[in-house]
């Protein structure tokens, strides 16, 4: 259900960025979403379809790329893939206190009409 909250924030960002780029219509976008966000892509698409109605991003296509959850093991001096949200190093057992990736919630690309560079 947090996909609805995220969709609302996403629309604000899309509208602001489109305005800045002078775009009149956004027909698609690409997102990078960290695995730790536990976003269900279909739910986010569905939520955006609802909040986007009547905006310049109505019906926009959404492409999503998932970023794996990776943390740093200080003891092994290595980056470790975190499995099942257990933040202990599978190799040495040390706690993993620094998350390197997996919490992203980024808009990385938008396409549509208008905004040809001046």
């Amino acid at each position: 259900m947090h996909e609805a909250s995220i969709a609302v924030e996403l629309l604000k960002v899309v509208e602001a960025q489109a305005r800045q780029a002078g775009m009149s219509r956004v027909s698609g976008m690409k997102l990078r979403i960290g695995a730790f966000r536990m976003v269900v892509p279909e739910l986010l698409s569905a939520a955006f379809e609802v909040v986007g109605q009547g905006t310049l991003a109505e019906g926009a296509e959404m492409r999503m790329e998932t970023v794996p959850l990776v943390a740093r093991c200080e003891r092994c001096d290595e980056d470790v893939a975190v499995e099942d949200y257990v933040f202990f190093c599978p190799r040495c057992g040390a706690p993993l206190l620094e998350i390197l990736s997996g919490k992203e919630l980024d808009l990385v690309e938008m396409w549509g009409e208008g905004g040809e560079s001046p």
Binding site: I6, V13, L96
Partner: protein
């Protein structure tokens, strides 16, 4: 046309929240964001804190609920130095924008500690900062041992976990050690307090932590 960018979707909220935090910091005011499932005992815990620390810490509370001001009424009746109800009108979390106008009308110097009681929900509140120093997750033993596994982000962003309603343990299958272990899986250095708002067990340790955290924050005031 096509635009490439890297824009954090939650950045707008993060910026408003950072502005809130700067204002709290200027006054050396400790702000704690209290989160839990519906009915885990957030308001009850705050009532206890307010009356136990009366005369020692001036505590304010911003209450977030989808509807009603019942919780703020309870906080006021408990003798809080400040109580304000935010109705989120459907939103399942509080964000920085909802806090900002409340901060405008508060006398920040009159408080030692400000709690934000978030909307009962273990998902969305984990994603939205409000300008707090620390997130606290309250978890009641009636919810099942594996909640930290099911809502890992909530337990990862919270530095403190309060395990409430331990008075009910004799009647349940819940295993306190398992709850701790599951929480530490997602947050190895989680600070944990086992409490009962009914019997008062464990609350003194939490009050001690609050006193220290308030003193630490005040000491940072320039």
């Amino acid at each position: 046309m096509k635009v490439t960018l890297v824009q954090d979707i939650l950045d707008a909220n993060r910026r408003v929240s950072a502005a809130n935090k700067r204002r709290f910091d200027e006054h050396g005011l400790l702000v704690l964001n209290l989160m839990s499932s519906p009915g885990a005992g957030k308001t009850t815990l705050l009532e206890h804190c307010i009356s136990a620390l009366a005369g020692e810490l001036a505590i304010g509370v911003i209450e977030g609920d989808i509807q009603t001001s019942l919780d703020a009424d309870r906080i006021e009746a408990a003798g809080a130095a400040f109580a304000h109800q935010i109705n989120t009108r459907g939103a399942c979390h509080i964000d920085g924008n909802m806090i900002a106008p409340v901060v405008d009308e508060m006398d920040l110097d009159a408080l030692d500690l400000l709690f934000v009681e978030n909307v009962g929900n273990l998902v969305c509140p984990a994603e939205f900062d409000v300008g707090e120093d620390e997130k606290l997750v309250l978890f009641s033993v009636t919810e099942g041992d594996d909640k930290p596994k099911k809502y890992p982000l909530m337990f990862q962003v919270s530095g403190v976990m309060l395990v409430n309603k331990i008075d009910l343990l004799p009647h349940l299958d819940a295993d306190l050690d398992k709850i701790h272990a599951h929480a530490r899986d997602v947050h190895p250095d989680m600070r944990i307090f086992d409490i009962s708002c009914k019997t008062g067990e464990g609350l003194d340790a939490f009050y001690g932590w609050l006193r220290e955290a308030v003193a630490r924050k005040k000491a940072t005031r320039v």
